[in-house]
Amino acid sequence: MPHANEVDVALTYLIQITAKRLPPHHILLSTQSLLDAISSRSDATVPELQNNLIRLLKSVDEKSLKDQFNEADYNEITTVAKQLENYIKYSLPSAAAANRASTSSIKSEPRSSRTSSTTTNNGTSKTSSTRSRASNSESTESSTNGQTTKEEEENLDNVLRQLNLRQVPKFQPVFEFANSESDDDGITTDERKEERAEKHGQKLCEEEVETLPDGTTRRIMKTKTISTTQTVRHVTRSTKGGGCPEITRKFVDGDRTLNEDEELKTDDFFKKSPLFERFNLHSKFPALTCSEEPIKQNGHDEKEKETGQSQKTKSVERTSEVTQSVSQKKERNGKLLGEMAATKLDSSELKAKQIDSYLGKLLLDRKGEGSYEENTVIKQGKPEIEPVPASPPRKHVVEYIQHFGNKENTAVDYLRGTTIASYISLNDNLRFQEEQFRKKLQFEFSTTGTSSVFPDFYNLSSLLDTDEFVKLTLPTKWAEEIPDAKPIKEIDWLKKEAIGEEEDLICSFDVNDYLLMRADTDQSKPLQIRGGPKDALIVYGTQPVASLVFQEAFLVTYRTFVSSLDLINKLIKRYLYMVLSDDSVSSSAAKNTFSVIVRVVDELTTFELQSPLINSVTSFVYRLIRDGNFTFARILRKRLLERIEDPRPSPLSCIPKIIPNKKQNLFDFSSSAIACQMTYLDAELFHAIEPPELLWWAQDQDEKKSPNLVKFTEHFNHISFWVRTLVLTPGSQSERERYLNKFLKIMKHLRKHNNFNSYLAIMSALLSSPVERLDWNRRLWEQLTEHGSVMNTEKSHKNYRDMLQSAKPPVVPFIGVVLQDLIFIHAGNPDKIPPERCCGRTTLINFLKRWHQYAVLDSIRKLKKWNYDIQKDDPVFYFLHNSTKNFMNDDQTWSRSYEIKATQRRS
């Protein structure tokens, strides 16, 4: 139970630190704990208390936006805080009110008249949603003991359902056979075998512990175990013919041919049907065992229940394993041309737990946590031959490339030919490709319904793998064409009265009619969005019908068509409109909208956190407080403060404490130690880059918007020129070669760390003309030119991309290629759907372009999740830090180079 004096403590603390003139962020944090304390009071909905609180928060928030508090600001905060303190002490009928509040309901803010018109389909009181407001005592009529109401199940199940969107896709490697395009008219035989097996298990557990007023406890436990095995498919298909192109194409396009296959009609697993639904269809599985055994203890059973406290724990454990193997054989005139095979094993493990606390029948608190792990292994190789070893032999860089890039081998490029192929295979590589790795997804949710799942997707490749002339379904409704201009300015949501009207697209329940979809595929797949009006896409992004993939893609790319300020204001408008009515459709729309607001706030960049946006969000927080929704207010304000504070210190911000006695040089440290510390710093700088910075850079190359990206590229250049300087400076040839040799060794270590950033920085230095034109020891030179093939720019940086794709994370990529790709995606794809594709409309946003951008950015986001296991090593780190500051510029390196070896210009 909340204690009234928590509020006193928080307030006293706030007043004290203000008196001590502590910096703004302390005051911000202490107001947050004050907000937490007040929100747990049962009398928190007294309007006068809310107003006092809002006044205090407003004053603190406004002042903190400035860099420094001045004396007057501190005084003002003290005054407002004291007013609140006095109000709570003297004017608030505290103790009495608190007692009353737990039994009688305090009237919350009046609802608008819209309620009456929209609650018609809300038949039973059971489905009417109980918001988690502290004061709201209109509790749900729970039916029988132990049975959960729909509302209670909502959160855990929602999360589970979302997780189930990540299905195991059908594994369909495309094998390439050498000289398969021979012109002779012989009879070609193709044989393809596919085998798929799955195994699933689920354990559901429910435990209820009830504390009765007389101190005894009651415990009810239920367990349910479901396990299914097999579903084995065995498909063998042979094609014969004189290399007729139609047959071959049909064969490659697996989706269609398999759909036509009768045998596979029952096999819905590999197409859609989320796992979860499969578990609900108990009857379908013969191997089902189900046991329910309620256990009762301290049997005070059927006594009349007074308001006691109880706790209900639900837990789910689920494991699943899917093995898929495909092999293909090609023969011509009875002669074996080639045989290839691949196996993929997907396994996943889900554990989730939800704890609900009740006071009587009133849901007080809900907490949830869980983890989700996915594990994928792909093995390739000819049948009966051992699969490729788990990790590629690290013999030599160049051999390494040949090993993977050579088509004659059982090449790993079955994903080629799909769009943004290299990014998708990069993404996929982060999951599988000859090596095993695990990804842990964690999610949490609370009474607020804000669940956050960090998704990790398979189906992007199938999404982008389209031919160019795919048919589109046009919208059946057209939004009014409003010119793009007129950006919304900051809005004071506390004061704003009129929210919106039904015709407003942003306030609609269903926007599907406005969207441009792919026509030829399953309508149930939400992945097929190709475009639509801005507001329809925003609304779609808030809806659970949209897959997480769309939501993620939307959140990563929305900045290319709507500013964060604009988006937040639109979402707030939608939330406030939906919350006016308390039918279940509206309130779940409000809840979903709110969780998107939280996500958007969570991912705001420093550049965006400026006063118009902050003011919009804070005024919305005040509004939430005034409406009595402390839970949402607390969450939102907390996230916003976290973004504003962002305490992440730069690794370079701390000044070196150790000043070495003697002047150190590069040879005082081992190559491996240097490579480690370079990687440590590179990783820090890389992790600091936020995906929107990359998007913005591709659009307008504004250094202010992309500060961390600029730091990262500058660092690359510094390293490169520093290396040139060190190699060129020594007077003697042997000393220069000693440096060159040292850097070659460092490069080898960097390559082992998969740190492409510094690796390429050093390489660009050693291969730069001022260095390269000099005469070098042949052995060293050969080593260097071997490295050089990586940066061969031919075939759109094929060598580098191949290397990156087969690299085992953690990885620091060369961001130049990413920027180049984003720029070309931007330049090459129209922003809006061309009018000739959509009845002459000019305002539909081309979402396919955003899918492409998402494919690139998502791989960056995934790479950012991996951390190196490298500790900062101060002496080396600071040596590098100080040393790399000194370097010659381009012209100076040329002059120095000419000094060493005179110019021999051919004319």
């Binding site: 192929a421 795919v470 003309s769």
Partner: protein
Amino acid sequence: MREFKVVVLGSGGVGKSALTVQFVSSTFIEKYDPTIEDFYRKEIEVDGQPCVLEILDTAGTEQFSSMRDLYIKNGQGFVVVYSITSQQTFHDIKTMREQIVRVKGTENVPILLVGNKVDLAHQRQVRPEEGLALAEYWSCPFTECSAKNNHSVNVMFAEIVREMNYVQNKARDNKSCCTIL
């Protein structure tokens, strides 16, 4: 078939990528994927001779000044682009020929100077005469174009092929002269 490697250079924001996109994809395509292997390759016919251009567009990597050497080394012909709407971008490229010559180690480098964005004539900051003067100083061809209107983009890439042929022939002639001497 002869193959030429062309490097497109110039400051950020001059529309290099748009020029390349315009060139490699003359018709509208719904999906546009820069990561596929032969995206930057295109076959064209110049004066009745078919040839393949492999374009290295430095768009996006302008900030990586340390990589420029490598890019230049990879190229045989150079398209140097500025925007006619920005004096700054014109200023930026003034030393470009010197850089190319230095890296290539020869004065004989095929260069084409291009003023982009003629569709924005009302924002013009660089007069055609200025471009022409620089081109004369570099003794290289010069053209103004617009990626947006597909105005002379193909002509432009044909021109750099001619220039590469011309420089190559000249070099061969020089060499044969030397052997005679």
